[in-house]
Symmetry: C2
Subunit: 386 residues, 2 copies
């Protein structure tokens, strides 16, 4: 096991009716900006629950944060935050709204003219405006970590940053929100959380026994609850386990002391930036090819995964490892998620070259858990995913 540091100060309020408790967590004299997305929270009643819980607060709101939170939209919110002297942010939404809010937390305290540098300079964010979240879409885990991803439409870029200042002070996780989520987004949430675990787990056996067991436990739970959630999102028991799985998948715990990969995300972000394909679906497109391409270095862990998560007990290590890839792809199909780029766009020719070019431009010359994958490797993996 590698040396590690672990600290996660986010307070989780989990369960039915927890939105009512918002006023326990936000200072009474705060000037609060509530951020949200396209307005679905008004249809689902969550908007009303939140504003009711914060009755008597000095509360502004800023809606319209798009999926893959867009830099220029956020700059509009930043202007209001500064003009109105807002001092507490409340994200009410999914990963995009939460990531956008994290960016605003950092940008509000950023000393410099161009907050885009928060994303391009690669420095951890050490100062941010306090913020909390009300999660409406389990998927990204952003509600209990300090990372964020921001998109810039004009340059078709999708970049990430993070830092100790960007843990939410609190996150409200009420599984009852799941019942209002459309099928496609539920499927995305399951696949996204699944691939978050895989990026931290699917490397090589390196003796992080607890980390492996926890990762496998989250995968098993997602596999167990996915059919129930897809069939009936108002199944509270399934929704609660789905929600807590998504949070545990990316709150930093399972990656401590072990190697991580994240290549699939790095390639996937480019597919979203280029074609607007849902983030989770880009991961489902690339993961099987990635594991196939890196079969020799990953087969030990793939075989362990097949055995423990999918109960594949027969065959050689190679056979088990292959079964692991196949089961993964079948799991995505069971969520009605297609796993080839050509299922999503006819304009896929040249994508592999474009992704490799972008990696090279950003200086990502060595990626993956061994730091051995080059832009040329990424090109081949993307090609295998056509």
């Amino acid at each position: 096991m590698n040396n590690f540091e672990y600290k996660n100060p986010t307070k989780i309020l989990f369960g039915k009716g927890q939105i009512e408790r918002l006023s326990e967590e936000i200072p009474r004299d705060a000037k609060v900006m509530m951020l949200y997305g396209g307005g679905s929270i008004k249809r689902t009643g969550i908007y009303e629950q939140v504003t009711k819980a914060l009755l008597g607060y000095n509360l502004l709101e800023y809606g319209g944060i798009p999926p893959n939170p867009e830099y220029n939209v956020l700059m509009g919110a930043l202007k209001v935050i500064k003009e109105e002297k807002v001092d507490f942010l409340l994200a009410v939404g999914g990963g995009s709204v939460i990531d956008g809010t994290k960016f605003l937390s950092a940008a509000a305290f950023f000393e410099g003219d161009n907050p885009w540098e928060l994303l391009t300079k690669g420095k951890p964010v050490m100062k941010g405006m306090p913020f909390g979240t009300v999660l409406t879409l389990p998927a990204t885990g952003s509600e209990m970590n300090s990372g964020l991803v921001i998109t810039r439409e004009e340059t078709k870029e999708k970049l990430s940053t993070g830092g100790p200042a960007l843990y939410p002070q609190f996150s409200v996780l009420d599984p009852e929100v799941v019942k209002s989520i459309p099928q496609q987004q539920l499927a995305n949430g399951v696949a996204d959380a699944y691939m978050h675990v895989m990026e931290q787990y699917m490397t090589y056996p390196m003796g992080g026994l607890i980390q492996d067991r926890f990762a496998e436990g989250i995968l098993q739970t997602l596999i167990e609850v996915a059919p129930a959630i897809m069939k009936d999102p108002s199944d509270y028991k399934a929704a609660a386990n789905f929600m807590w799985s998504c949070t545990m998948a990316l709150n930093g715990l399972i990656s401590k002391g072990v190697s991580e990969d994240w290549s699939v995300h790095m390639m996937g972000h480019e597919l979203t930036a280029l074609f607007g394909i849902d983030h989770a679906r880009t991961l489902a497109i690339l993961a099987p090819s990635h594991y196939q391409y890196n079969f020799e270095t990953k087969k030990g862990k793939l075989a362990q995964y097949a055995e423990r998560v999918w109960n594949v007990t027969e065959g050689t290590e190679d056979e088990k490892a292959k079964a692991g890839i196949k089961k993964t792809e079948e799991f995505f199909h069971s969520l009605d998620i297609k796993t080839k780029l050509s299922d999503y766009t006819k304009d896929y020719e040249g994508t592999a070259e474009e992704v490799a070019k972008r990696f090279t431009k950003r200086g990502w010359v060595k990626i993956g858990e061994h730091g051995t994958l080059t832009p040329e490797d990424a090109k081949k993996i993307v090609e295998m995913s056509y």
Copy 2:
């Protein structure tokens, strides 16, 4: 799943050489009191590592905190803390030293004449002096939780408390300390962590799927590493997994949203108070009888445990559940831990009555995960453990 709150602000510094980093975590101008036990840290070199890391600090020390930290010894330390105006505590030791330090953290800020009331009034501790820990004996999990247990020799009492103020600010977990731990204490550590998980897990299937998988993962890891640790405690890989298992076993995560039992600990504390039997061994004495006595209410979970943790795939639910109890007892035996009270004392007659009397006196009339166990039940369970 039940509603829950979760927040654990302790920072973990895990791995080789982390003791050197103490000065990053303790304010330079703090007046620090270092607390330790019987002096084994001087033999193992940990004392020297700590004092070297804190060279230049205003550092006092207070050794001699006994196993089952004794109230009167701690009151001696409290006097020095007040006289010398200490403002940061550093526990260097195992669960006893850490629990004692937590008590001192609370007692230093206690407003009242009699700090014993911290243990008898049942109020969560909301204020405490800042403290950190250097863990030298993996077992209790106290390094990443906010609970403590204190013993008072004169009244043969062992009582607990806790509260949000009693999370360590940081804990240093260097698995290299494991190599200096005597066999008996290693065995105790494994059994203690195992039973911590069992108290939170061995109730009934209640749909906390992640919690169950994580609990099972910790048990599986302890089972996997125990033989390696007992054979060669300088096996770093095994030591690291052992250490992280002990912390994860009782840092609050696996109990969130599910019912807990803790009856075995409540009865076990009485056996330690009465006979001085090592804490972990009291749990090994009582657990098999407890599960046997409560077989009807626990058999669903016992069968799940037998299947998932011990790979018992044959038989009816009852048969699997019984196999689960048997495997548990055999696991303790594999650690050279005896599982009958009569293995430890000849004076066991009347113990069951005494335990029941003490429970009644403290008003513990309904314990266990269903709140149905009476002192009369405890009497029968202790009797079954003779």
